[in-house]
């Protein structure tokens, strides 16, 4: 139902682009076929850590049908990266994980590509492999990046190695406060690497145009970052590179190369196209994706909390060891987020947490759906229940006791504005039947909360062009992977312009024409593109009103648009068709083009001044544990969220449900498994277990209202926060069912049964 003051905002009009998807139109990157295209393929390292002694491509080049083979020698000696510029697009001298690209081939057919890749002779000198970040931190560990400095802010006495970045959180006097606490709980939690496992494979297609420009098609979440990388790594100016976005079959932060220096295949494809003098298309294989593209890092978290007898938390100390993978990628940012969030989102007057982001010879950390948050929440929210148990307090009461109020500060956030945490906890408790539902033997109930600050990245723009017939084309810099761009954004343009939603078309990204954007990540689509679209639509509307005002003999301020008519408020008979004014613009200003930009600095300043309007959530579930096998079945699952004003409620629910499912997967069945040589042992879906419908509970979503966010109309970002609570909610329910606290993910049948047996419960 739309709020009374809005026409379309708050309604769940079916998403634009739905018809193409249900009829199977060839809109995705993988559906592309360029004229005269060659197939491309990438040779990846066979060692997790090694020196490249030599690469001999002669046998491969001699194969009929091979048009180009490239190695680092064929590209400028330029690296790229995020935190550190530490990575070559094709490995030079050294490989640091088994997915590291070493060479690439363009050939007439996929079969020839395969043969050619086999014929490339790479001589490696293997180096010692390190997989565990705590091992890699030791001074005795091999050095993974000889020319990357240790972070300047490391404690002076720290004897560590291979640390990519370091974050420290310090509030008050935690040592003193901990010593004075009545009860102290000290635990260690661990999560494993998971892969975003979007269903549509990553692709890149490139062709050199007659004028020498390079066009690259990418199913990438951050097309402008791709453009930056292609230009930089090939040593060509930005205006010579054009990125065209295809529709994405999922991304989840795994198709955000450019943002993360992870697994960029676009520059490799572009280089092949240049060398082959023909268009080239690369399509990654599923197993190749799992071993090479960016992932959600595993983390080890030490967490110790002191509380008063009455349940007031007084101090927290901790340490995070966050696995960056082979290159700096997104590790620093995700690890910093994890470190801050280990302080929790409750009142915490004294706190010290050190966070180390550490290189290992494994896949690189990417901005995967809520990077750093789910890991921290697994520790924080499991730990909350451990403390509650020690105090003999109800877990919901303990959380409510420590819930902040408006104006309070929490770790990492100087001031909170509205705080929905309490309401989400109470609502989740009510929905799950906390204290009321009758639980059978081996059944348990658990709750976990979360928060997630939409990532404070650069903003983005929007352009609204008004066509002669009064319909509108919206250009934003974000792509459609089932998120805001074709759900909520069209509603915003329609609302501000007073036109039907079907008169609004949001087009895909073309870096030649679309306004710059940091990328479709960080729960920012509705906030950044939504704000920008709203301002652009208002700008367009103002231009229309200025032109219409004289004809209607009214002031622009007295005008409105309704039913495709510009009319005087209160006097509907004084009207002129929107199309007439839009067409008339040709003779005045050329065209009505509205422009808007989300000013991120202003937004952050406002959040700082008025207090953070970040979203909160509480999830709760009932599980049944099979104490013979360790299998966990989720019988009921509720997800309660404050998402501010939901511009498109079904879209918001969809994001919450999908994010929740992803973390249920991380809780129960997903992990990337390695052998001691750094080889991924479960790259395909045979053994990388994706959650299937039969193991998924019906996720019951409830939105709580009344806590406006920083986004347009009070919206908050919804894409990631659902990932934050599920692992702890399930672990807490298992604890409730069995009395056994499991501190390592996944909560797989084996891990659960082992924990039960060790506790004498099975």
């Amino acid at each position: 139902m739309a709020k009374a003051e809005y026409t379309v905002l708050g309604t769940s009009i079916p998403r634009q682009g739905g018809v193409e998807r249900v009829i199977g139109a060839g809109i995705y990157g993988i559906d592309l076929a360029l004229k005269d295209e060659l197939h491309g393929g990438i040779l990846r390292s066979q060692h997790a850590h090694a020196k490249i002694v030599s690469i001999d491509t002669s046998a491969a080049k001699a194969l009929p049908g091979v048009h180009a083979i490239v190695t680092a020698a064929d590209a400028p000696d330029v690296r790229y990266g995020r935190t550190y510029i530490d990575r070559y697009m094709l490995a030079k001298n050294r490989v640091r994980y088994m997915g590291d690209p070493v060479a690439a081939v363009a050939a007439e057919s996929q079969a020839i590509v395969k043969q050619a890749l086999k014929k490339i002779k790479v001589v490696y000198e293997p180096l010692p492999v390190v997989i565990d970040p705590e091992e890699t931190m030791k001074p005795s560990a091999p050095t993974l990046h000889d020319d990357m400095p240790l972070p300047k802010n490391l404690p002076p006495d720290a004897k560590v190695k291979n640390v990519c970045s370091f974050t420290t959180v310090h509030v008050g006097d935690p040592e003193k406060a901990m010593a004075e606490a009545d009860v102290v709980v000290d635990e260690v939690y661990e999560t494993k690497m998971i892969h975003p496992q979007y269903l549509e494979p990553r692709i890149a297609a490139a062709q050199v145009e007659p004028d020498g420009r390079i066009t690259v098609w990418a199913n990438a979440q951050a097309p402008f970052s791709v453009r930056t990388d292609v230009a930089r790594l090939l040593g060509i100016p930005l205006n010579k590179v054009r990125i065209l976005s295809t529709e994405l079959g999922g991304g989840f932060g795994g198709k955000a190369s450019g943002i993360t220096s992870g697994a960029a295949i676009e520059p490799i494809c572009a280089l092949l196209a240049v060398k082959a003098k023909r268009p080239v298309m690369i399509v990654l294989d599923k197993a190749e994706e799992t071993i090479s593209t960016t992932i959600r890092s595993g983390a080890k978290m030490y967490i110790k909390t002191g509380v008063k007898k009455d349940g007031t938390m007084v101090a927290r100390t901790g340490k995070v060891v966050y696995d960056a993978g082979a290159y700096s990628g997104f590790g620093a940012m995700a690890g910093a987020r994890c470190t801050n969030m280990l302080g929790g989102w409750y009142l915490m007057p004294n706190c010290h947490i050190d966070g180390y982001v550490v290189y290992t010879n494994k896949q690189v950390c990417g901005p995967v759906r809520g990077p750093g948050g789910p890991q921290a929440a697994f520790a924080v929210e499991s730990h909350m229940d451990s403390i509650a148990a020690k105090l003999g307090m109800d877990p919901t009461e303990f959380r409510l006791k420590n819930t902040p109020k408006p104006g309070d500060k929490i770790i990492g956030v100087a001031k909170l504005r509205d705080v929905s945490l309490g309401e989400t906890i109470k609502t989740a408790a009510e929905k799950i039947g906390w204290g009321k539902v009758k639980l059978e033997k081996n059944q348990g109930i658990g709750i976990a909360t979360g928060s997630w600050i939409e990532s404070a990245g650069p903003g983005g723009g929007a352009i609204v062009k008004v066509n002669e017939d009064g319909s509108v084309t919206v250009h934003i810099g974000k792509i459609d992977m089932g998120t805001a761009p074709r759900f909520g954004i069209p509603l915003i343009a329609a609302e501000e312009l007073g036109i039907p939603v079907s008169d609004v078309t949001v087009v895909n990204v073309d870096t030649d024409a679309s306004p710059w954007d940091a990328g479709t990540v960080g729960s920012r689509a509705i906030i950044v593109s939504g704000t920008a679209t709203r301002l652009a639509a208002i700008d367009a509307r103002n231009q229309l009103f200025t032109m219409a005002a004289s004809q209607l003999e009214a002031s622009p301020d007295d005008l409105e648009i309704k039913d495709r008519q510009i009319r005087v408020k209160g006097t509907p008979s004084k009207s002129i068709p929107l199309a007439t004014i839009a067409t008339a613009a040709h003779n005045v200003i050329g065209e009505v083009i509205g422009r808007g930009y989300c000013d991120n600095q202003a937004m952050m300043a406002e959040e700082k001044a008025r207090g953070s309007s970040q979203p909160f959530t509480a999830h709760a579930c009932i599980v049944e544990v099979d104490t013979d096998t360790g299998n966990v079945k989720i019988l009921k699952y509720v997800a309660v969220h404050d998402i501010g004003f939901p511009i498109h409620p079904v879209a918001v629910e969809g994001q919450i449900e999908g994010a929740t499912a992803m973390s249920i997967g991380q809780a129960l069945c997903e992990q990337v498994v390695f052998d001691d040589n750094g080889r991924t042992m479960n790259p395909s879906f045979v053994d990388y277990l994706m959650p299937t419908i039969n193991m998924m509970p019906r996720i019951e979503t409830t939105l709580v209202h009344g806590y406006p966010g920083a986004g347009p109309y009070g919206a908050k970002g919804a894409g990631e926060i659902g990932c934050v609570p599920p692992m702890a909610a399930i672990a807490n329910a298992i604890y409730n069912a069995t009395g056994v606290r499991i501190t390592k993910l996944p909560l797989s049948p084996e891990n659960v049964l082992r924990a039960l047996k060790e506790a004498g419960k099975a």
């Binding site: 197993a287 039969n694 084996e750």
Partner: protein, 289 residues
């Protein structure tokens, strides 16, 4: 890659005789297609689906003759399989996805000889027999002799399975197929236990007890010592416990990316216990004492 669609068993056998190890037989294709894509394209692919007479399910007195080309879904929807061979039906019902069941064949599942093959532990406890055809003749072989190692059967590279003959269990028997997985049917069984018991006429003891184990040895196996220990005895809780532990000790699982050997043994124990309890109750109407 050479490709043939033989129209008779004889034609297929002469192709296999000619190509030997260089040939691969394809039925449904759900395993072989993955091999072709990700392992090796064989020199020769022999598609046996055009051979007539290999796709029927026919009652033959007190056994069911199942052609190797019968799909898992055909097994699942066949009245005779469901009524007379429920332990096999349960395996078909927990076999991957509906899409896979519509394509995969029982012959393919058998000849693939994966220790975790869904139908294999049931076929072992049912004491199925296979008709093996070679270019120089035919023989019948009990399934317990058929499986020789992971991916290996006594068919070798040149034989063809032409029929599976499954005797109906004795009157009063009850069986159950318990598949251990993380997610459910979609998983490859981490452990599989098939239990088939026959009570005596008075329903007071176990005239026969058969326990088939999948995914915990180089081939699917029968827990022979456990079976011998159980035969003739009334099933009590203590005996169930002892049998479960013994079955676990008769398994020789490995540790791999799916789970550890230790865990697999725990599951063999748990599922053997469950299997005995469930079948005893189904057969006698009573809980284990």
């Amino acid at each position: 890659m050479d490709y043939f669609e033989p129209k008779s068993v004889r034609e297929a056998l002469s192709l296999l005789a000619k190509y030997g190890d260089q040939a691969k037989v394809i039925a449904g294709g759900t395993d072989v297609m993955v091999d072709i894509k990700y392992k090796e394209e064989p020199d020769c692919l022999v598609n046996i689906k055009k051979i007539p007479g290999l796709g029927a399910i026919q009652e033959n007195g007190d056994s069911l003759r199942i052609g190797p080309l019968v799909t898992i879904h055909e097994l699942e929807t066949n009245k005779l399989v469901r009524e007379k061979l429920p332990v096999l039906w349960e395996a078909a019902h927990q076999f991957a996805s509906l899409q896979i069941r519509n394509t995969a064949t029982i012959g393919g599942n058998v000849c693939r000889a994966s220790p975790s093959g869904e139908t294999l532990a049931p076929l072992l406890v049912l004491e199925a027999k296979g008709k093996l055809a070679f270019s120089d003749g035919e023989k019948t072989e009990a399934f317990k002799a058929l499986f020789q190692g992971p991916g290996k059967t006594s068919l070798g590279a040149k034989g063809l399975l032409t029929e599976i003959d499954v005797p109906y269990p004795a009157q009063g028997s009850r069986g159950v197929y318990l598949k251990h997985a993380v997610r459910g049917a979609m998983d490859i069984a981490m452990v599989a236990v098939a239990v088939l018991i026959t009570p005596n006429a008075a329903k007071s003891n176990l005239q026969d007890a058969r326990i088939g184990l999948g995914a915990v040895a180089p081939t699917p196996v029968r827990a022979a010592k456990t079976e011998a220990m159980l035969r003739g005895k009334p099933l009590t809780a203590a005996l169930v416990k002892e049998a479960a532990a013994m079955a676990a000790s008769e398994s020789s699982p490995i540790s791999d990316q799916r789970s550890s050997a230790e865990y697999r043994r725990w599951i063999v124990e748990a599922l053997t216990r469950r299997g005995l309890e469930q079948t005893w109750k189904a057969a006698t109407g009573k809980e284990v004492a």
